[in-house]
Symmetry: C2
């Protein structure tokens, strides 16, 4: 089977919210579960959990649990997650070139 590398990358970024999660972690460095849920307005806790678990398993993000009450969990990008950011920018910039400018609302490219 061909295209292993392509699929390898795609597996990391497939998932409706992963890029948005990456973006939030990239911007804010350290974010809690509840914050992600608020920033990404329409995501359900179940889906957020799923995406975070996959990303953690893929080595893109780090999950740190503080054993306190109430629970406190922090998510952040790993170096591997950081290394994916430039790739996302390339993807984003190509998209920029194919969207009619009057449909652009806000760009995250090159931020």
């Amino acid at each position: 089977m061909y295209l292993n590398e392509f699929d390898a990358t795609m597996k990391h970024i497939q998932g409706k919210w992963k890029i948005m999660i990456m973006y939030e972690l990239y911007e804010r460095k350290v974010v809690r579960f509840n914050e992600l849920q608020r920033y990404i307005a329409s995501i359900s806790p179940k889906t957020l959990t799923n995406q975070l678990k996959e990303m953690e398993k893929d080595g893109l993000i780090k999950r740190v649990v503080y054993p306190v009450v109430p629970p406190h969990v922090e998510y952040s990008l790993t170096p591997k997650g950081d290394s994916l950011i430039p790739v996302l920018n390339v993807i984003c910039n190509w998209g920029l070139s194919v969207i009619p400018s009057d449909q652009l609302q806000r760009t995250l490219c090159d931020e």
Copy 2:
């Protein structure tokens, strides 16, 4: 909503076989339906049709019909499709960096 550009690009490359189709068209320049079906061994005609239609609608590929019997249809990349190739290479190369080298069978990156 954010991330318009990213989603715009992703819409173009999402679909289980689109990258493989892109790759075949990039390598062979002009390919017929039946050839694609053979090159991409396990794709069903229905799925192949779907992917080609979407890609044509997205402007990535060009479809030329010769009104003869039996039918003769040729597919090729458009300039827009060509412009996506470097993006695919970036994606592919990142994947190359995260796959253990002993799992690599064949690379399409930088070809």
